[in-house]
Amino acid sequence: MVERTPILDFLTYFFLILGVVIVGFPVLYTIIAATLPLEDVSKVPMPFMFGDQFLVNIKAAWEKGNLGTQILNSFIMATGITIGKITVSLLGAFSIVYFDYKFRVIAFISVFCTLMLPVEVRILPTYEMAAVNFLEPVNYLVNLFSNVELELEWNLLDSYTGLILPLIASATCTFLFRQFFLTVPEELCEAAKMDGASPMTFLRKILIPLSKTNIAALVVIEFVYGYNQYLWPLLITTNPKMITAVIGLQNLIPQADDIPEWNIALAAALLVMLPPILVVLFMQRWFIKGLVDAEK
């Protein structure tokens, strides 16, 4: 520090701790509620003391909410989106940066424009297409340019494909990789070409290893993004076996009609939010890098 200011230092720590408490309080309170029996959790106000029903509530939540299946679904969805997004963007950015071809600029601009179309804006037609037949554009194009009567059909309702595929197109990831590739020294490519390496070898042996930290950062960000999706999975799944944990959780929240089992609902909430929190905490370094990089 520049100067000694004991009072200010004290205030600093005081406010910091206050900040941590404010940020942590909702979850602390949730944890307490999840340890209480029904009688205590329905008391007004609820006692601010840990109970001994934690495992009982967790077990009840796990069974009642069918959380095993749902968390697995969320996990598959998040992983699928993460891998899909990163692969698609990596290849796309490689193509845009390391090749020169006719439609390069058009391809780039068309990807850029998608920034303006978050899924919430085109939700209705996207849902309609995904739920009815997402190969519709293929049929249309084929029928337009040829005499072949094509009637391919594939609907994405209640499938992992449906949960994942519409969410893997992303302009941000492509940008990130493009940005990074542009900073890679030209000499590396020159050297690779001299050695007679093919573009794919260059990608595999040089570019991907160089991008490791970027990839790790994106993994964290995209996993959290995928796991926490709400509107899309709400619409695209109707089969209870296919719903994701964040959606399924809503069924446990006591509504006007139900017995107010908040202890179980909140125990479930804790279980559901744990995986992405763990990912963020354990991959903190990559996470921060990912966040800050996405800015540029």
Binding site: A131, L157, T238, Q255, A256
Partner: protein, 439 residues
């Protein structure tokens, strides 16, 4: 000729055993019955499947009512529709005009299954009939609002228990809620589903049109009429009650009026009869009872109340043989055994008079008198053109509009007249949009 006969006989011989050993024909049913009710529905499905081997009904829970309709719509467009789709009562008009349905009266006729429609509770059937009195969808879970009250709080306030058949007047309820508040209760009454209980049912019971064209049954070019004097006065009354806590607004979803009743914050709670089963489970520390909805003192012979809930729509596009199974299943659902089970477990009406009589004969209502309050209120008069139900397009939005405008009354932003006028104007706009889509 002989050869041919032998051939046919042979063929029949070959086909017959094959048919009987073949897998049963699958019939898909998408419903919105959550948790406990879902279990009951599953039990009924199992009973049907066990009763015969030709058909197998497969039930699937598709979320709440909106989600179920949406799933049905999407599936129909993808030509993957189930045979039976459960749709809530406000979706009736949309389903009816969808061009996607196989009307139930026709289904039964085509399948040559005799149904004595006169044996059904008419106020229930009439909600799902077209203007010629033909049944379009099969009633499934039907309920009507009644008034629950806390006997202990009543006693404390010096109020006598209410009659189970004769409705008290709204003025009397005003006195009662006043006494409740005076005796230390935090509030007098709450209501669930305010549009349904305080506007739709209030109108039906007092035989006031909710909309022109016989509440929409006779044309899409109808307009709402809920800004009439009686409804506005009723809303004003509740608003005045809310000033001294005789009426408390309990919100719509998570907050819930039921919570207020359970916490004994209020003594009177208006909600669907299907709440009985849940109250039985949830209430531990006080005694409660059920009474019919209050009426105006001027209404000497109150009309029937109207129903809420959902019905089963049969969707087009399947094979004739499958429809035969659908018809059989729907018929099966309305037999006495199923209806009695359904009524006892969920509180929803038994939909046939026969089942109702059986329940009476078995002495069920002697033991559970409160289960009968709703059905008596529903059956107390023959439905008129006004009290038989509502048939409105975009009814989901209209209910939202009414709820929104009522909320603006409760929080003092609007007068009852202004709110109901706006509700009518806004709803009429929705009705015009709907009309245009279908004309």
């Amino acid at each position: 000729m002989k050869k041919l006969l032998i051939a046919v006989a042979l063929l029949a011989f070959i086909v017959m055993p094959a048919a009987s050993s073949a897998k049963p024909v699958k019939i898909y049913w998408w419903h919105a019955m959550r948790s406990a009710r879902g279990e009951v529905a599953n039990t009924m499905i199992k009973a049907f499947n066990d009763s015969q081997s030709e058909y197998e009904v497969v039930g699937a829970f598709k979320g709440n009512y909106d989600e179920t309709i949406n799933a049905g719509v999407a599936a129909f467009r993808a030509r993957k529709q189930p045979h039976i789709l459960q749709a809530f009562e406000v979706g009736t008009q949309t389903m009816m005009l969808s061009g996607a349905i196989y009307p139930v009266f026709k289904l039964m006729k085509d399948a040559k299954i005799d149904v004595n429609w006169d044996d059904y509770l008419q106020p229930v059937l009439s909600y799902y009939m077209n203007k010629d009195g033909k049944l379009l969808s099969m009633p499934f879970n039907s309920s009507t609002p009644v008034m629950y009250y806390n006997k202990d709080l009543f006693k404390k306030a010096g109020v006598k228990p209410l009659s189970k058949t004769k409705a008290i007047t709204w003025d009397e309820l005003g006195v009662i809620t006043g006494k409740l508040v005076k005796s230390g209760a935090k509030g007098g009454m709450v209501t669930a589903w305010q549009s349904w209980t305080q506007v739709e049912n209030y109108s039906a019971i007092h035989n006031i049109p909710f909309a022109t064209k016989s509440n929409g049954y006779e044309g899409l070019d109808c307009n709402l009429t809920i800004n009439n004097k009686m409804v506005v006065n009723h809303i004003s009354r509740l608003m005045n009650w809310s000033k001294n806590k005789r009426f408390v607004y309990g919100g719509q979803k998570y907050q819930g009026p039921k919570a207020e009743f359970l916490a004994q914050n209020v003594g009177v709670y208006i909600d669907s009869i299907s709440g009985i089963a849940k109250l039985k489970k949830a209430v531990k520390d006080f005694s409660w009872d059920v009474a019919p909805l209050p009426v105006e003192a001027s209404m000497k012979v109150p009309q029937n109340s109207i129903i809420g809930g959902a019905s089963l729509w049969v969707l087009k596009g399947h094979k004739k043989k499958e429809y035969k199974g659908v018809a059989k299943f729907l018929k099966f659902l309305s037999n006495n055994e199923m209806q009695i089970y359904w009524h006892k477990e969920t509180g929803y009406f038994p939909i046939t008079i026969n089942a109702y009589k059986q329940l009476k004969k078995d002495g069920y209502y002697k033991k559970n008198p409160l289960q009968e309050v709703g059905i008596k209120q529903l059956m107390r008069q023959k439905p008129t053109k006004i009290s038989r139900g509502l048939r409105l397009g975009y009814f989901i939005q209209i209910r939202n509009i009414i709820n929104e405008e009522l909320e603006l009354v409760w929080n003092g932003k609007k007068t009852p007249q202004a709110a109901m006028d706006t509700a009518v104007a806004r709803s009429n706009k929705e009705l015009r949009k709907f009309e245009r889509t279908y004309n």
